[in-house]
């Protein structure tokens, strides 16, 4: 009888034993993955979001967040001040048109592009991570499209945020709703073109060199030198009374290209000498050249990555 009880107790303890030691790390060995594989389109989206986040330093070191965030703040600050002025003085319109804002702060956009475009592409080239991408489901076009779209989106956010601030401020100042909405829409179209154009130029220039420093300097040079030259020559042409020539000259720098476009098609006023407006014919050429440069940048990037670097 007592022996039976003991046996029962023993059996009971034995049964409880495994439950009594929960703090054991089991070596579970290698586990195979049999979940879903989402393929190319998902990989392309992942690369896009990683690059877009990277353009604002998200998912990177704290140090690399400083510059993009600072430039973002610098972009928005003038807009906030203008809104404050408009609201306080009860002015009848915003001091600056939606389409023209980006032209005013082009230096900030240029700095942002120069700091982030090399980060996006030179980094993969420099540390030779490109073969790792191409040994995965994505193709060359996926890589280029994802990087291009990410850079353009980052620029669109950068240039779009102040426009939204202006719009909200304008509505707070009880300016005409229809006018303002139309202005915002035109502004967004203009910065969309600007983002695509600048992203393309920035990426092509950065993809030429695996060295980040060269990339930064080259992007700044490509944006500022033509702008300076075009502005100077435009000034001379204008002083000599050759206004048509001054209009056409705007074709030769990225900033004046966008400036001319927004003046002709999006109801803006240009920063050309004396607010000069290119003719409508010139406007169509501006549009063609802009789209051509964007397509050309894409083609050049595709060419750049033709050798997978394996």
């Amino acid at each position: 009888m007592s022996r039976e009880t003991t046996a029962k107790t023993l059996a009971k303890t034995a049964a409880q034993a495994p439950a009594a030691v929960p703090d054991v790390i089991h070596n579970i060995g290698y586990r195979h993955y049999d979940g879903p594989r989402l393929g190319r389109a998902y990989a392309r989206r992942s690369l896009f979001s990683q690059s877009l986040r990277g353009a604002y330093g998200l998912g990177r070191s704290a140090k690399s967040k400083v510059l993009p965030m600072l430039l973002f703040a610098v972009m928005c600050l003038p807009a906030a001040i203008m809104v404050a002025v408009t609201v306080v003085t009860k002015a009848g319109s915003l001091p600056v048109g939606y389409t023209r804002y980006a032209i005013y702060v082009q230096a900030v956009i240029g700095l942002y592009l120069a700091s982030q475009a090399p980060q996006s592409v030179s980094r993969d080239l420099r540390f030779k991570s490109v073969p790792l991408y191409f040994s995965r489901p994505i193709e060359r076009a996926d890589y280029v499209v994802a990087k291009f779209a990410a850079m353009a989106s980052a620029l669109f956010l950068l240039t779009g945020a102040p426009l939204v601030i202006l719009y909200v401020g304008a509505l707070l100042a009880k300016l005409d709703f229809l006018d303002q909405t139309k202005g915002l829409a035109q502004g967004l179209v203009s910065i969309a073109l600007l983002s695509l154009l600048f992203a393309g130029i920035g990426l092509v220039v950065s993809a030429l060199t695996p060295r980040r420093g060269f990339g930064v300097a080259a992007v700044i040079a490509v944006l500022t030198i033509p702008y300076g030259a075009v502005s100077a020559v435009q000034g001379i042409a204008f002083v000599q009374g050759n206004e048509a020539a001054a209009g056409w000259l705007g074709l030769f720098s990225p900033t004046t290209l966008i400036d001319g476009l927004q003046t002709v098609f999006l109801g803006g006023t240009s920063s050309f000498p004396n607010g000069l407006e290119p003719s409508t014919a010139a406007g169509y050429v501006y549009l063609l050249v802009t789209l051509g440069v964007i397509a050309g940048c894409y083609a050049l990037l595709m060419r750049r990555y033709r050798k997978a670097g394996l």
Binding site: Y30, Y33, R37, A43, F127, K128, L132, P137, I138
Partner: protein, 349 residues
Amino acid sequence: MTVIVTESLSKRFPRVTALDRLSVDIAPGVTGLVGANGAGKSTLIKILLGLAPATEGTAHVLGMDVTAHGSTIRERVGYMPEHDCLPPDVSATEFVVHMARMSGLPPTAARERTADTLRHVGLYEERYRPIGGYSTGMKQRVKLAQALVHDPQLVFLDEPTNGLDPVGRDEMLALIRRIHTDFGISVLVTSHLLGELERTCDHVVVIDGGKLLRSSATDDFTQVTASLAVEVTDTDTCPDGTEALRAALSAAGAVVTSAAPGADGPAASGHLLHVEVSGEETYDLVRDTVAGLGIGLVRMEQQRHRIAEVFRDADAAAESSAAAAAAPTAAPAPAVSYAPQEGGAPDVA
């Protein structure tokens, strides 16, 4: 079932032929791909990943044609490049998670697989630190992890032991072995160091100049003609023990050479005898002969033939054929070169 099949695969560039009608069948397991620099190893991997079109011939990986299903193949295959490929400013975890997503794994699965894989390759707390501060050995592990994170069926490892110290090398080789035995993933590994492949591979493919030199199981390379190195002492009765043993063994019908096959330099000293092993009885014969002569046996060790001998044989064959081809034209040359020497002889005298 084979994981890789190529049929008369050729890749020609305007100036060089990287692959020349290469036909190989590679079975699951660990396969070594051996070849000198420029032998076509990288080109082969590139074609197998579907990244470069072959000039002619076909290649199938995991039963899929490389030209038609490149993307699907790459989803199921891992690749570890030879060169450094890691950005220094992110942590191993972040980097491998990103690479897992690039292979199509959903975000949560990517994180879980990354943690698992990094643990399997032997990276623990370091994985949260930026890669820039890692040692070469740790970087190699991260590179391996990114190739394994999506649980491929086959991995291509390009020179995985490059730059590692002997201990790191051993660990990496053990890891490669485990990839197949524990993880069940087939491996195609390239290396210049044949000794490494002998230890890890089931099968070795040797290519040279884009041509298949040999493809067979590692055992075939190393065991078929094993030999026995014997070193003996000299005694008063046998002043030259080595010579006496050689005579006795030869008399007993064993094949004896004094230099190791293919060995060179001081290693081939006269005190070592190499006896070709024809079976168990060879060991007995050596023991009995040594005992009969009354000399001391210093050592008796098994020596495997090395894969390197495949190259040496190939070189020798190439040289002899080249010599044969050159012989008729070269024949007059010695006559010319002897002439001045004959003329010069009196001076010396």
